[in-house]
Symmetry: D3
Subunit: 177 residues, 6 copies
């Protein structure tokens, strides 16, 4: 059986890792979809899809499950989102998500969805992690060691800090005011 | 003579219906453009274009006017918006709108625009209606009966409630945080 | 029961009309999807979506079936095409098509498809009709009278002839060589 | 040597002009990129690219530097933004910017970036200028005379005021609520 | 009075130059639109928009007319093409073209169009020039000297030759067969 | 060291496999980019990105190299293609290609490119393989066994045959003539 789990993974952290561990108990193979693959260099999405492919691949390779790591670009059209995901992914039997919109979209398309109890949601949350990076607080203990290595290799914390200085909120196109 | 009236119609309500009644006094044929046709499954745009085509068509079919109901996808470029609308619609002589941006765009393109007094703006407003659906308050009396039927048929209130639970504000792409 | 039938309808001709007549024997309501809705002013797609909405609406209004006429823009991505069509159309139970690709896409998505014997395929074919318009041969007898009227009203034959003179094959963007 | 300087220039004001004067001391030729070229008719981006081409060209033509004025449409993808800018612009040796995101993107791509002290940042800022136009306060003294002339010629203040009345925040597509 | 003239200018040659000379007799200012601005590195469109901006600007700067050189990306939608061009260009009174499609689109939009006798059409044609570059035949005498200099500076002939070797016809995306 | 190799892999065949074997002698890790990832259900691109992810992953998993398999959607803009590829892929040191356009684009961006002698080009070519599938000739011996299994599992030959029957050449959008 094959499962599907999507996230933006900005960055991939111990909560995501815990989720994959639980999925690995259900299935033989898991597809890890990297959402908003076209986004990068914003405070909300600092890392490129390729950088996240490296993080995720290395962070789960010790698990007893075959993992496919697939970047998925946004189509900005919820009504075709499930078909888009299905076309980018090896065929899957069940989707894992705690996001109400994702659950609804899969259910309307007739795909089985399973949730999962969140693990240490207070700190294991992307926004919290990125805030810690920006403000120089501890974050390395909240991600798999392989992820910390990738972020160091790509000079990721410095990138995030520089972007966070910009006047705009990071969703504006990069042209001066 | 042919008139044009565009709205997102999320959902089509009695205020919209009243507007079409008034337009029907001026013209023989009216084009009802369904704006943001590509959007759905968000708290602001819960219903698909196809669902809205059904709502609008059924809600005006008793009126003494020939109605064309045409979905219009966003192009995200105000400068070509009028040309885009004109290409998707049977040719029209006058546009009806109370939206200052729409009025300005049509006027700059040399299209005649007519406004209309709003009818019971306090409750007959899309945001108010969607809030009522989410929180289980009365809304059926504020829309034409045919619209209430369509929303029931597509399980629309449940969809809106589920989407409203999501962490994001509904404008984010559907990937887990 | 509701059926769905899509075509580019450049222009809507007697073969299309015959197809709708046959569909009308099966269903109460039919959705007529106008494909490649964003294309116009080429030899292959001379008429805008709005012009085709008028042609189709007027050409079928005497039939004993409720017809929805819906422009559908291309997404250029076959894997999400069925979802896209479904989002733009009132929900339908069966699709009608003789196009192998359309049939395959609907079938992979689990939608029932029905074919139909073609009617006078030799002349009732869009390419043939457009050739006749360009070269001044008879074409009016091959389309419903309402369609001939719309084409005359929009000066459609002259447009097609002018476009056909262009050096490029009509698929190039409109910039001088 | 050739320099590159990008802004949305909504409108081009004395602070921008001062920046170009300083760049002109470093280089023989300067490319002035008009960012978000596809946007117009919003409170944040009221003027079209073509209107801004006129403003900028006339506002710098007395300077002792060859200026290329180039509209640049958004691609909404930071990772390819530098390549996109480079493809739309004559080749340049150095980019000028005070925007942290722009600086970071150019630096990651190996392009030299130079900053510049801001000049009277309190009033010489696009948002401030547009607010003054909307509320009928003085703004003409904060832009080059040629820019004031263009804005008058295109009836720009009236356009901005009308758009600012709209219910939405100006980033929504133009369809009635 | 201001005129508008669009071409792909791959490359800008003596025929284009002659056309601008004639336009300069009619108008004070001319906008030179660089069509298909997003295309480059194909046999049909070898040069980037930025490279063409340089060619055109240098090739007309001795003429007694103010020239705006504006890249214009394709929107792939003929029905909004005129609005798109108008939004990217300073306002113009008359368009110059010999292309039937361009003429038709401008005329349907109510814009005056003027044609011009072609000059030495046999050799002064983009396809012919690019063939000469690929096959090592003379081409420098058919373009303004400034254009030859730009092409040399960017190593343009070598680029074109390399691209022409590719198996595909140059319109395919760059992925191996 | 990390290498990059892109192909459409429609399907992944023994020639592709041989190429990866050779790359594996140079590098520790290889990124296999699946080009034209958004295309499927045409005679030229019958398989979805997800189906190709499965084919490629299984076909190289016995090789002594870490492989990342990454779908890459077309951006239709050669000038930003390298940046796009780099953003979707883990950072790489060298690209492998025999395609002149790909080689040129990487070289202009300063990326090292290595070619490779083609292996049995007469039969190990995508077009030839797809022709064999359509016409019922042998093809299984020309692809890795894992690829043949995936194609069987997804009923790929039947899909290709059905699509090949369509009147259009497979590049047209799916709307009836």
């Amino acid at each position: 059986m094959r499962g599907f789990y999507i996230g933006r993974f900005q960055p991939f952290h111990d909560g995501h890792r815990r989720m994959v561990e639980e999925i690995a108990e259900d299935v033989d193979e898991v597809v890890l979809g990297i959402g908003s693959a076209g986004d990068s260099h914003t405070t909300r999405n600092p890392f490129t899809a390729g950088e996240r492919v490296m993080m995720v691949t290395k962070a789960v390779k010790d698990l007893p499950v075959t993992a496919y790591v697939v970047p998925i670009e946004d189509l900005d059209r919820n009504s075709v989102w499930v078909s888009h995901v299905q076309s980018m992914s090896p065929r899957f039997d069940v989707a894992y998500s705690n996001n109400p919109l994702v659950i609804r979209l899969f259910e309307e398309a007739g795909v089985e969805v399973r949730g999962s109890p969140m693990f240490r949601r207070d700190v294991l949350e992307g926004t919290e992690l990125r805030e810690r990076m920006i403000h120089g607080r501890d974050w390395e203990d909240l991600v798999p060691p392989a992820v910390a290595n990738v972020i160091e290799e790509i000079d990721g914390v410095e990138r995030l800090r520089r972007i966070a200085e910009t006047d705009t909120d990071g969703t504006e196109p990069p042209s001066d005011g």
